[in-house]
Symmetry: C2
Subunit: 358 residues, 2 copies
DNA sequence: CTGAAAGCGCTTACAG
DNA sequence: CTGAAAGCGCTTACAG
């Protein structure tokens, strides 16, 4: 449509029209002062009138100024394999925009250890990044960091969980309540009779539990739309993940006492694969099993049919978008979306293949 | 990771190492001849050894050469509203890379009128684009065009339907057989009893019908995995879309003679909204209804619950990827994926909201 | 507060 | 077949 190569208006043109030099126009464009009010106004007027759009290529080439972004997220190993997926998305985004001088430094911390979060965030701040991608797993500590970045004028993009109090430029993640409703829809649609449904929350002592609560809330909300009686068929079971507990023991108590009671099980996070493993081990008649996140651990259970549906939080897309959002903000100086919900993808055995990299 | 701003190797460096001028290195880089074999070899060796990566920003800035892409797709109005969605994705991609001088000219044709396709493609060729995005709806005519582009050395990206014979650089679309299996999975999972299932194909005299056939194939394939008996419960109904026919009349004959026979209906394309409208009008007891594409027309039926699931072909993503693929090929001179399957997204009332722009 | 000049890395005529 | 010079549009010291 618009032929951006033909006689586009340049800084030189603005300068000529304003009767100043290109350098002065540049000073106005970048708000680095040292320009008299009158000339600044005149230049701004002309820029406005001519709808001047800077050539970002020339700008990046001349400035040769690197944009260093820091990503502060949990280790993607062991307890929370989920977090290795956003990294892939970050990498992908980088591939597309590295020529603008954008780079991402990664700072990891332990999901369950707020001290490690603080340590990592301290280290990050000493490197004074121009933008931060933050997974606010440790709620309190993250809020403090957010304040601090705000003081330093460092823009922050939140991914996965939202604790945005106004001092971050964007949140990228899923609508948890709504995702619980999707899970409930799938459960309700597939349940042959009016069997009970077990809702399993794998809880942690530390770390943000907001997700889990909201997902259960959405799940119940869906059922409540049918009748109050329906809601009473939803039985909640909390299993602590801390070392002292034995998940299998608790599952045994709940599921083996009356094996036919539950027609479906909804696990509110990625630990659904543990329940799947338990069901297989005990050889129980398979209830409908729905959970979250296409982890490698869950994938095989899905292929075998033990897990029926998984809801993806699209972690790769979250990583990708977080980098792109900061790129738009820092490099292109464009407005970015404050709340960027990722779609609530439904994964099942038959469409799993094309989600390999999600 | 790699700090691409610190002492990166430049053309100048290559030139110095080879004992030639920058111009000569450039001639080698762009294969525009006029260089002796010996110097060319020497330069290539050094480029290889130093792992030289051209600075794409400087290159684009200096060359000021526009990249004109042509998109040849059906009108997005009237009969095939589907086709307005890839346009949105094309626009979005353009937003991201217009500063590299990439532009897209759109050439439309009538889905059912091969002549209009030929006319549009003639017009397109007179403008000699550097890359083509083609929706090969008219199979035969598209194949000829593909040959022609091949002769001219114009790279072609196919979207939505694959007729790639080796003379296109990429296909972007959905695995139709697999999508039929996803539909069958949803149908089978939700059917309370062993009711029959009606498969409705809205057929056209002209245009590519491959999709429809493959979707039905996938649907049956899934059922066949359970028993041969299951397959016989799948009843096929073809409805021609040509003006002389009356879809409602045919639906009436099939559905009203034995209203309770079909527990589910699978419509193999976006015309599922017509079946939904019919069901509502007749006030029939609602069978499970599954179809394709989140058209505006279908959306309301989904919200009301008449349509249970839609499978999205992600048309916006197809448009986006088609432009990006040509950008990678033409501008970045990178290898691109030959077959780029888009995910098979399952849409239902509860996750529909976040698909607004798909 | 302002301007002139040099430079970012690559490409493009032009001269030889 | 090859090189030197000018230029793409913007930014950055530096001099005044």
């Amino acid at each position: 449509m618009d032929n951006n190569s033909i006689s586009r208006i340049r800084i030189k043109d603005i300068a000529r029209l304003a009767g100043v030099s290109a350098g002065t126009v540049d000073r106005v464009l970048h708000k680095r002062g040292e320009v008299s009010d009158s000339t600044r106004k005149k230049i701004l007027e002309i820029i406005e009138k001519m709808d001047y759009q800077p050539d970002i290529l020339a700008s990046a080439l001349a400035a040769r100024k690197p944009f260093r972004i820091a990503a502060l997220i949990p280790h993607g190993t062991g307890e929370s394999p989920f977090w290795k997926y956003p990294l892939a998305g970050i990498e992908e985004a980088l591939n597309e925009i590295a020529h603008f001088g954008v780079s991402v430094d990664r700072y990891f911390f332990d999901y369950e250890d707020p001290d490690s979060f603080v340590r990592s965030s301290r280290k990050m701040l000493t490197h004074s990044p121009q933008g931060v991608i933050l997974a606010p797993v440790c709620t309190g500590e993250s809020a403090s960091l957010l304040e601090e970045c705000n003081d330093y004028g460092i823009p922050v993009v939140l991914i996965n969980a939202n604790i945005c109090t106004g001092s971050c430029i964007a949140f990228i993640g899923q609508d948890s309540v709504q995702s619980g409703m999707v899970a409930a829809r799938l459960m309700h649609y597939g349940l042959k009779d009016d069997a009970d449904v077990l809702i399993i929350n794998f809880t942690r002592e530390k770390g943000n539990q907001e997700h889990i609560l909201k997902r259960e809330e959405g799940f119940r909300k869906y059922y409540r739309n049918f009748s109050t009686e329906s809601d009473s068929r939803l039985i909640q079971l909390n299993i602590s993940e801390s070392a002292s507990q034995q998940p299998d023991k608790i599952l045994e108590d709940s599921l083996l006492s009356d094996p036919d009671r539950f027609g479906g099980i909804f696990v509110t996070n990625s630990r659904v694969f543990r329940v799947a493993a338990f069901l297989e081990k005990k050889g129980l008649e398979k209830p409908i099993l729905i959970g979250y996140d296409l982890l490698q651990e869950s994938k095989e259970f899905m292929i075998k049919g033990t897990i029926d549906f998984l809801i993806s939080q699209k972690p790769r897309e979250q990583g990708y978008k977080s980098v792109m959002t900061l790129y738009h903000h820092l490099v292109l100086r464009k407005q970015v979306g404050r709340t960027q919900y990722v779609p609530i993808d439904i994964i099942t055995k038959e469409n799993l293949e094309h989600y390999t990299f999600t």
